[in-house]
């Protein structure tokens, strides 16, 4: 055992017929619960469940226990590593200036010699990690799962213009420099060359959507190294009983119900924290079937929450009274200006909006099943949103913006409907149409198919691993 790895124990290999996989993620799943960490953790767990040799490495957070002078620690087990960076990460070109890490990683690879390194992300490890992996274990094949458009776009990988928050169709040195005037065009030229040079060491890039794959292809990744494969699905809470999965059929009578009035009282905030809105609870629409549309997830600026509330207001003004928008999410960690905007929007919200606040992901199936459909009004491209997978798991169609990964995952008229991105009127029109003819919603629900389960996705991963090993 090398000096730098002194004290690091390594679990023995288990099943020689399956490839051994070293999984890397930019934050350890025990510490944070982002999409990449969840996918990495599920992959790790499923591989081990199959009897494969698998290791996991995540980056430490502020609350991770340090061992003075140690770059790697193993607080969670012999096949589980936590990397403690020794330098401030360069998020512009994804360089990791930590002088210890390359050697530590190289030596760890030389010791483990995994068949596959599957990296869910390159931030915090640095793109140079791929070279260190190859130096330590030249025979190891590197698979990199792409999350967001980070390598392409310096704006948090969102491909949105910084000042206008308009959608960006294609990067260019000039366009990127316009978004980030503190950097010149040449900086973006160098950024791209730097990242791509180290990407040369990656054997296979995995994209969870064709849309994202296309963006990376036009950015310059070799097509033969790009493949589309859905991320490992998150661990699913137990599904409710079968009958609960089938919603009561909508009743067209609801259409004729007159618009309710609650004088002197506001809509959403008054019901904050309650399971359903006044309209839902008050039985105003008792004569007909009330349609519930759920929003789930972070209430960040790009998730389109303001578009949704604007659409609700329009529905109210249109006299559509058999629709309730139920919001499950949190905005407390958003920028102050945006928090203020959300708060104001909730105060001014129409009576058809119910804000429930933060929810426990363990309850997501229960909550989604109370809805007739899930709304995803994101104003950015998205990639392969987990919310869509969760909706389909629960048999719920998705009403989403007509762009990017959302539009790809939701087939218009089959398992959901599209509306024009960032256009509240368009969303209101789609919802009004369903309110007027709830039968359409039933039809969509009938054609929703659940996404493949973890075992199936793992099989696809293993197929890819074998392909790249050969």
């Amino acid at each position: 055992m090398s000096e730098v790895l002194d004290g690091i124990g390594v679990a023995p290999r288990v099943d020689g017929t399956l490839p051994s996989v070293f999984i890397m993620t930019h934050s350890h799943p025990k510490l944070t619960r982002g999409g990449a960490e969840i996918s990495a953790n599920t992959l790790f767990r499923e591989l081990k469940a199959r009897g494969a040799t698998a290791w996991l490495m995540g980056v430490a957070s502020a609350r991770s226990a340090l061992r003075l002078g140690a770059t790697l620690t193993q607080p969670y087990g012999p096949d589980d590593f936590v990397y403690h960076p020794n330098a401030e990460f360069d998020y512009f070109k994804f360089a990791n200036p930590d002088p210890q890490f390359p050697r530590v990683l190289e030596e760890l690879m030389a010791e483990l010699r995994p068949d596959i390194v599957h990296s869910h992300h390159f931030v915090r490890f640095g793109v140079e990690s791929f070279a260190a992996i190859k130096r330590g274990s030249p025979g190891t094949r590197i698979v990199l799962s792409l999350h967001e458009y980070l390598a392409i776009c310096n704006h948090h990988g969102q491909m949105m213009k910084t000042r206008t928050l308009r959608l960006c169709e294609k990067e260019s040195y000039a366009a990127c420099a316009a978004c980030f005037p503190q950097h010149g065009e040449r900086d973006f030229f160098l950024r791209k060359r730097y990242i791509q040079m180290f990407f040369d060491d990656v054997d296979l890039f995995v994209s969870p959507s064709h849309f994202l794959a296309d963006r990376f292809r036009s950015w310059g990744l070799p097509p033969e190294k790009l493949t589309v494969l859905e991320n490992m699905p998150p661990e699913r809470p137990e599904l409710p009983a079968a009958e609960a999965r089938t919603p009561a059929p909508p009743r067209p009578a609801a259409i004729a119900t007159p618009k309710p009035r609650f004088s002197g009282e506001r809509g959403a905030l008054a019901q904050e924290g309650t399971p359903a809105g006044r309209r839902a609870a008050g039985g105003v629409a008792a004569a007909g079937r009330l349609l519930r549309f759920g929003f789930f997830g972070q209430m960040s600026p790009l998730k389109g929450i303001l578009v949704l509330m604007d659409a609700a207001k329009r529905l109210d003004a249109m006299g559509v009274d058999n629709v309730v928008i139920e919001i499950y999410g949190d905005y407390s960690s958003q920028p102050p200006d945006f928090q203020k905007a959300v708060k104001e929007a909730l105060e001014e919200a129409s009576e058809n909006v119910v804000f429930h606040g933060v929810y426990d992901n363990a309850q997501v199936n229960d909550l989604m099943r109370r809805m007739d459909a899930i709304v995803m009004p994101s104003t950015w491209w998205e990639n392969s949103p987990v919310v869509i997978q969760e909706a389909f798991t629960n048999g719920r169609p998705v009403i989403c913006s007509n762009i990017g990964g959302m539009a790809e995952k939701v087939t218009h008229g089959v398992n959901g409907l599209h509306f024009e991105v960032s256009r509240p009127a368009s969303l209101a029109a789609v919802l009004a149409e369903l309110a007027e003819d709830p039968g359409k919603l039933s039809a969509l629900q009938a054609t929703v198919t659940p996404p493949p389960d973890a075992g199936t996705v793992l099989d696809e991963h293993l197929t890819l691993y074998r392909r790249v090993m050969n």
Partner: protein
């Protein structure tokens, strides 16, 4: 008896061995523009109006000319002589000790020796004493002449411009020392009635007449605006930069002396004299826009000598440095790549990343950090780069910021290669074997003294494929080095071509030649023209400059036009251009063989030089 000196003009005259009198005091009086001495002389002196020839013998030379001499009764020497007051005109004073005063009258010589110790009062006191003594002298034309001189106003430390009948306004924004003894003056002057006859700067015994025709005019609309209600006919260009050589004496007050057409003499103190550095050079070159003949005049008389002196002072001591090696650097490298670093240290990180995949370990890379405040950041980054990219290199960290040429020269001093390649930090390899090609070309012919590469922008258009010279009429017809085909895609020219010069952004030479010509000339400031100067030095020795288009690199030169056209930067380029003309163009204009490109935007051509 001994003979007087040969160059007194009085050869053959016999001087007495003994003294003919004594000097009690001696002072140089700038207000009188001459030496004032008092003492006594023996009775052999014939007190006539005919002016005697006078020689002041100092330890380091002498001053001589026709003196004005008055005698007066003096009781303490009445049996052997008379009191004597003497004035000898001289443009400037001197500091070394007086040996003797020799006087020649009607074929006779007189030797007056200084008393021990000789009194050397300040100008004001000397003139006051002389005035009192002259009052007791016989009423002669000489006495009148002396009293007139003694009554000239003297500088007492007070400004007196406001006593002029017709106002003159003169204000200084700054006075900068151009070592060893020059002064650069920046200010403004308004003389609405053309009152000034002579304007001088004085410092102790030193004096200089300011020729306003040689000033660099500076637009000061704020000043003109302020005076426009009082006076008509004022112009914006009332600001000035003036250079006064050989004037400054530490400890002596510096002041203006203005003599008006009405005979008035007034003074104005020059407040503090500032020391200089790069910031002063920038400051000096800001807010100027010299063109046409003004350019030549301005740089010949003001900016050239001033910046030259400041730069020489800035580099007066060899710069100290620390040297570190990262990784196993080769002992006998084929080529030493020298890269000066300033500001963007992340370029080192990027270059090393790219070199790690393209450069043979037979070559050495030497980074010269010319940015001492970044030492710790660079050494940390260097360590990180070694660990990440595993490409060895050397790092030389200079103790203070010196600029492009001196930084490269330090690199040259420590380099061990058979060849040297000067490389900018914003140059990145495009083809992996770029250096192999360049070395091969240099080795292919003993004529190939300087080898360059094809440098392209990030859009693959040409940044450099050799330098060509062009005279620019707008800029005093000076020669500038330009980059033909810049901004266009590379043409179908041959792989290796002889050119007039090579950019220092990527320039390879045999080490022996680079050292023989002394590396880069450090008289250029910051980073223009040193490269073509180096090429000229090689060409002067019979070598050729060639570009090898097989070697391709990206050169991400400064992009922002705004940045390039910052006035101090442009003017610094013009300073460097002025120096280049003086070194290579003016003595024996060799421009006949240069390719002239079609007339274009001359200013753009100069900013191209900046880049």
């Amino acid at each position: 008896m001994s003979e007087a000196g040969l160059d007194t003009g009085h050869r053959g005259l016999v001087l007495p061995d003994q003294n003919n009198g004594s000097i009690d005091f001696l002072s140089y009086c700038p207000a009188m523009e001459g030496w004032l001495a008092g003492g006594w002389i023996d009775l052999n002196w014939d007190d006539q109006d005919f002016p005697p020839h006078c020689v002041l013998e100092f330890g380091d030379g002498k001053v001589e000319g026709e003196a004005v001499l008055c005698t007066f009764p003096r009781s303490d020497v009445r049996k052997i002589g008379v009191g004597m007051l003497l004035f000898l005109p001289a443009a400037t004073g001197r500091n070394s000790g007086l040996h003797d005063i020799l006087l020649f009258q009607f074929g006779r010589g007189f030797r007056l020796t200084p008393s021990e110790p000789l009194d050397t009062p300040a100008e004001g006191e000397a003139m006051a004493r002389a005035k009192a003594l002259a009052g007791t002298a016989a009423r002669t034309g000489r006495r009148t002449q002396l009293l007139r001189l003694l009554n000239r106003p003297t500088f007492t430390g007070q400004d007196s411009f406001d006593t002029l009948q017709h106002p003159v306004f003169l204000e200084l924004d700054g006075a900068y020392l151009c070592p060893p003894d020059g002064l650069l003056l920046r200010g403004w002057m308004i003389d609405p009635f053309d009152t000034t006859q002579v304007l001088r700067v004085r410092c102790g015994p030193a004096v200089a007449v300011l020729d306003r025709g040689q000033w660099v005019p500076i637009a000061r609309p704020d000043v003109r605006e302020g005076f426009s209600k009082q006076f008509g006919g004022l112009e914006d260009q009332c600001g000035f930069l003036a250079f006064v050589p050989n004037i400054y004496i530490p400890g002596e007050p510096v002041y203006f002396e203005l003599q008006s057409r009405l005979g008035e003499v007034v003074f104005k103190r020059i407040p503090s004299v500032r020391s200089t550095g790069v910031d002063t050079i920038k400051d000096t070159l800001s807010h100027l826009e010299l063109r046409y003949d003004d350019l030549q005049n301005g740089y010949d008389h003001v900016l050239g000598p001033a910046v030259e002196a400041m730069n020489r002072f800035r580099l007066r001591e060899p710069v100290g440095y620390h040297e570190m090696s990262f990784g196993d650097v080769p002992e006998r490298p084929r080529c030493s790549i020298i890269v000066p670093l300033y500001g963007r240290i992340d370029f080192m990180e990027l270059q090393l990343a790219f070199f790690s995949r393209s450069l043979s370990r037979d070559h050495e890379i030497i980074y010269v950090l010319d940015d001492p405040k970044q030492m710790r950041a660079v050494s940390a980054l260097a360590n990180s780069c070694l660990q990440r990219f595993l490409h060895p290199f050397r790092l030389v960290m200079l103790s203070h910021n010196v600029g492009y040429a001196p930084a490269n020269n330090v690199g040259l001093k420590v380099a061990r290669g058979e060849y040297v390649c000067f490389l900018n930090s914003d140059v990145f390899p495009k083809t992996p074997d770029w250096l192999e090609y360049m070395v091969e070309t240099a080795a292919a012919s003993p004529q190939h003294g300087v080898v360059g590469a094809l440098l392209v922008f990030e859009d693959e258009t040409v940044q450099h494929e050799g330098v060509a010279y062009e005279r620019l009429p707008e800029f005093a017809d000076w020669q500038f080095s330009l980059h033909p085909r810049k901004g266009r895609f590379p043409g179908a020219d041959g792989e290796i071509e002889t050119v007039e010069g090579i950019t220092g952004a990527c320039l390879l030479m045999p080490m022996a030649l680079a050292r023989a010509v002394g590396g880069f000339d450090e008289g250029y400031v910051i980073g223009d023209f040193e490269d073509v100067d180096l090429c000229r030095k090689a060409q002067e020795r019979g070598y050729d400059c060639v570009v090898d288009r097989r070697a391709r690199l990206y050169h991400l030169e400064r992009q922002s036009q705004g940045e390039q056209q910052t006035s101090w930067r442009l003017n610094l380029t013009l300073y460097n251009a002025w120096r280049f003309q003086n070194r290579w163009v003016r003595p024996g204009a060799t421009g006949s063989g240069y390719r002239l490109r079609p007339a274009g935007d001359a200013a753009a051509a100069v900013t191209e030089q900046v880049a």
